[in-house]
Symmetry: D4
Subunit: 251 residues, 8 copies
């Protein structure tokens, strides 16, 4: 509903100015700041709370607001100790995903969506698992089925080739890789599924910390789109948006 | 069909070794090099011929091979003079898209696909049109409907807000922006459609040539995936892959 | 007037939906794109047309639209030959500032503003004059008095010291410098006026092309704000905005 | 008063050589180094003491000298523990601003200025508060009224639009933003007030730590001047200088 | 044996599909991931386990798998405490090379290869010893004789000149250098042996941490190939491959 | 023969001081500068003359000196027109390799070496051919047999897999790749031959001009050593040195 | 004579205010800008006129002013055609140094200084000659004896060693080198003379254009100070200042 | 004495081969590595021992060797605790310079040189003192008189102007500055003494850690040579070499 439509509805009395503002604004000013409660409705993806640089108290307030207004809270990049504190503060209605360093809490009775589409999460090796798992957690919260294909780095191509039938059956792929980041290119050369490259901050020396991987994915001779280094949350969200578009079309 | 399946079919005699190789390899060695004729089948996207650094003769050979093996040829980043030469060499079966600097040729009788999904191509201003048009051409060749939303830069937000109903009706968006590259972030904050950021090499001084735009899109506080600076072909192909996944699900 | 006020006026019938949209949107869709005619009203600064990468025809269309909707057109970074062509196309109602590489055109009867405040434009040497002159042109169009203080580079400090009384009498200073860019720091250490640093793309080798100057100004041990390398238009506009704020307060 | 004037006054006997030197030099050599006591007079802004890399003892000496010579001391980037030690050493005549990590001390009887102009401090989100608060503290010490507009990040534009009437009522704006740093561009597109962009070192991966924000602000398609990453002190001082110029003009 | 040969053998019944897969794939899926057990056969070099970012438990599992499948385990960049824990876990069948920060374990009865060729490892100074020693350990495991030539930095050329007869007697040289990284260039100008440059992360300030050394080696006016900064493992492996090629030819 | 040996021979009268100097110095001062005539003896590789920035006259003098003192001249990065001029000046005793942009001249009667070892030169695509051909020319001049394996880019893996038997039969491989530079990694994962990565300056946008390729090769998860971007001469020389070491061992 | 002394002399009547200003300021405002005529007296080095970006007319005016006020003019980085035009305009009182791309003009009767000290200018190869020659021209104009030692690159160390007696006899050395820039380090390891490293913009690929050379010289394990890439003028001036300090001490 | 001379002396029997080697080589192989004992003779500057990354034991061995072979030891960048341990180990014959973080030890009876020349060490502020003090310590060990001129940053120019008579009386200046690094440029514009710029790793954000200072000094519009960021040891050594050249000329 565009601006003009809302204005016309206000003009005709179908909409009060207050409702018009709420529909356009979609946030309520709370003590914890202006919480973007409407994000999930507007974007179709849950808001994440990025833990680094915040105290457990601040995270608890933000997570509480998120639970109240949207039914769930997702906290990313939170260590196991802080997560334990947060879990107690939230009365235990929370699951901590250690490999992903994510905590997910649902209000009692919250019904997470289930969409009929699959996100594949592919990794080259052990070092890629943290951001890959973060992507998996968020994709699942959006409602996608998630399948993991781990340890198929390009140093031994047959590992990838053997997984091709599985890879080709998924609706969208997130492919995580560090070092030279060649795996998304190799995978995207073998499937017709959209592939999102997720560079990982492994490697050392020149081009280390995900730098060569990011550049390589942006230069890929096949078709990829890319997210920032270690941005598992973004990769999972984007994959979830694509999966939901596919699932909506299926209905 | 995975490696093991092919091997079992060969073992059972259902597949000859030659057919097995062809199925796996998908290329024929020609004078013009090993042309990846199977790419379209394998990836679902037509192969593009990148013109810079090639002579018109070389491009003509490659385009001819593409026409023979796949029914069409797409040449990117080709100037109008070279395009005119190429058109003559191809007996006129070609269309030159001047703003996109792309030439597209179809074999007589070639039936380009039509898929039931829409790709939106959004630009902030005039400087973004070349890569945006390149994205549009390739998305159309993949079979998507393409809608353009031009000149909605963030310096005047109402221009974007007015286009929201249109933007929300599309299946996937490519949003091109140069300078600070904020447009994809603003758009992605307003729609639930997947958004692909396409940074454009405008701007000057520090962060110019698309550098600030690329960094800004990778740092976006909303959900985006990104392609390289001016990589309209990649953006259009990725959008086309997503559109086709949606269209396939619609059937 | 905020969104809610507009909505309430629409609700009470004081404002038609069309007027509400116009007030919020402030642009009219023309053949030449969505021209941001309201920019001058909204921002108080004229819109500039950046010439590089545009044909004279395109610039002529844009300048014509600017003249019609705002009474004037400012074209930046345009060479003398293109400027001559443009002047003919605009029937001579234009002035070309060669050192600034800017063309300014006014509609007959257009009354440029005159504000009661002074912008000082300071340069270290000859190489700084192009962006400094660009800043001067735009500051004058905003209506400020402009005073030039040229050739006072830090290699001979007495040149600066002698100009202090003049520098201290101005309302805001743009200080342009290339190479190591130390001049704005030295000037800002001597006056209580706001200083805007304008790095210039002179110099060669490591840190050349304005890179050392930009970094040095951002690291200044005195108080400066900075614009991008060679961004004379931005420096002049920002100085003009400050001058106008001062002038408005004087009234 | 220029060099020549001073020299003529010395020549005519109106000024002793000692007084002439003091007027030009404006510093007294103390044990703590050559303290630039005249800075406030010369520049109109109080000198800040940057705490990192100094011991509490060193800071105490410097703050003591500042108090004696200028009536106040401002210590930036000081942690709460060191601040507590410093407060005791200064006999409690000090206020610690925790969010800004600044300590401000006034001599008994020191009358801070009050100028009739307002500095607006705008942030996109929680991560921007530290440098924004630093800017607020120094702007207040210069004598400006300071208004905060927090949590209006570009992911939800209606938050900004709702604040427009307030934003338009201020004399100068400091807009702090991390990640892609698009907020100052969006704000500067909506107001006619001078806007100073303050990039914040949030974000991770490529373009993180304020790098994308700085580049984006320097590339802004609207008019901004910019300070270095996290340079809240500089942003607040520059805003204060502009506010004072406006306030002086009002009188 | 190429793909087609395997396919024909399968077709003719000489090879079962399972054997064909094993021959091509060369990995067994274990709990610890897909271990690339065939790497040593395929590449002729033992797989290394990179310790940073892994717990001792994880390293123990990986080392155990390596021992079982290949007869040995090589763990790189492991500190002395973790190495001690790992040694106990492996029942003491391990040697810790402190200077190289490598742990090497052999299964009882494992017969490491001995090849008839010599790898020279040259360093400029003390700071180069860690990566140089890492290179030495892996070259020895590949079976090469290793000779060390230490402390021959370019500040005193006679140290190098005196070692020329020794250097000329080796089959391949790894030359490690930090700071400006000139040693490999000087050595390669004096011998006809292949030289692999190994930049070391010493130095400070601009070009420090191996950056100047890497660039200098890539710009060398003599013939060098280069590995990444501190990549002793890669340098040693590449030298080992060359030494083995020479040794094989000797037989 | 080391310094001490030469000194002892001089002491015992077996060597005159002049001969000692000549043996150590190995250059003759000519009008064209101090030509390093001994390089080929000392390093075993012919000296190349880098054409860019030199006039045809200067190149002719240098090539003449090279022919006189070593029997051959190799000029790299020379365009076809300059090469034609140079050929005339050398009386036609020269061959121009157009794809490699190299000119090679042999004195009548010069017997180029033939060594019993093979260098493989592998490319991903057309854009890699110039530096790859440069590598081939110099490897052949060193005496190696050279085999080309072109157009086996990673977008279609079967092209590489089909060439494995050939690749495994060579003594050393130079693998050239632009864009993301993944080919050397994939090849080195499949063979036990030493692989030298040669990054190529193709690609555009971020990481273009060989930058991503170089970083990717230095970060390779397999074993590679690397030369600089487009450094075909260095890659070919290093491969030639390794091939000769192997060939010498064969005798 | 310090500021206070001048002030006291003014106070006592020994100095008129005008003379005081002239003594401190040292420049005369002309049509050509504020020419820093006093630079030679203040700094002891002639001012250079940097030609790039200036028209021949502008250079002629500046050179004329330089000749009038200081007796000579030095124009750097000027091509042979512009130099010929300039020579005519100056009535032939000029010498063009083609290799240095410098033009030097002396007023009739101008007596250039002769100081009793020697500057050595050392190069690695042909590519280093332009900036080295620029350094030589300016050092000679300062009055130093200049000795050239060319073509002693590190690929053949005996060339350097043979020149040691000459190198050790000079008072200060400028050592120019491109590519990896190792020559100044090697030379500085062999002499006790002060060495100024002059990086040269040769090389290609990563670290090319003088970048690796500059970093290497800044990281040198011996004692060097450095100037910017290709900054022959600065190197020659600094060497001249040192030579003059030595020569003055000799008297 | 050149190579040829030594060879002739050996030939004529005036020199034994052993003595010839010692004269050329100048190092003795010890357990602690090849100590470059001849450096002081060859270079005229004492060798420094860089503490970071070495254990106190290793430093003790190296310092002991230095004391034995050259009469003194200089350890740089050593913390106060390690320095105390080292002092005990050296039986107290050592002085720790806390501000410079240097420890200097002299053998009983060691007579440090005294040369008749003065090195001035200038700083902008407190943050510059560590590298400036390091420069001072080494310049004194070389035998120069050292004068300090502290706290004369460019924010208050009169502080510098007042010191001009002192600055002009010195033979060579080291000028240390962080942030924008403008001080060496300003000083070098006022004196005819050679100035060595020493960039300091202060500052934060973009261009921080000495990066802007280094670039600014390399771009200086006056004559400077420069050392790396924080390289006080190099600056002091280079200044010492120049001072000694002047002092030698005085004799």
């Amino acid at each position: 509903m565009g601006l003009r439509d809302i204005l016309e509805d206000v003009s005709s009395g179908e909409l009060s100015p207050e409702e018009a503002q709420a529909r356009l604004a979609g946030y309520a000013t709370t003590d914890a700041g202006r919480f973007d409660a409407a994000r999930e409705r507007r974007r179709g993806v849950p808001e994440g709370i990025f833990a680094p640089g915040k105290t457990v108290e601040e995270i608890t307030v933000l997570a509480g607001t998120a639970l109240e207004t949207t039914g769930r809270a997702i906290v990313t990049r939170i260590g196991s100790e802080d997560a334990a504190d947060l879990e107690s503060a939230l009365d235990g209605n929370a699951t901590y995903h250690e490999r992903a360093r994510c905590l997910v809490a649902h209000e009692p009775g919250f019904e997470p969506p289930e969409i009929g589409a699959t996100v594949g999460i592919v990794t080259g090796g052990t070092a890629d698992r943290l951001p890959a798992s973060e992507a998996a957690v968020i994709a699942r919260e959006i409602g996608a089925s998630v399948e993991r294909v781990d340890d198929v780095g390009v140093a031994n191509l047959t590992r990838i080739v053997d997984q091709l039938p599985r890879l080709r059956g998924m609706d969208v792929l997130v492919v995580a890789a560090g070092r030279e980041g060649a795996l998304p290119t190799v995978v995207a050369g073998l499937v017709s599924t959209p592939v999102i490259g997720l560079p990982v901050s492994s490697g050392y020396g020149f081009g280390g910390d995900g730098d060569a991987a990011l550049r390589g994915m942006l230069q890929s001779c096949t078709t990829l789109s890319v997210v920032n280094v270690d941005a598992g949350f973004v990769a999972g969200t984007q994959a979830g948006l694509i999966a939901r578009a596919v699932a909506d079309a299926r209905e």
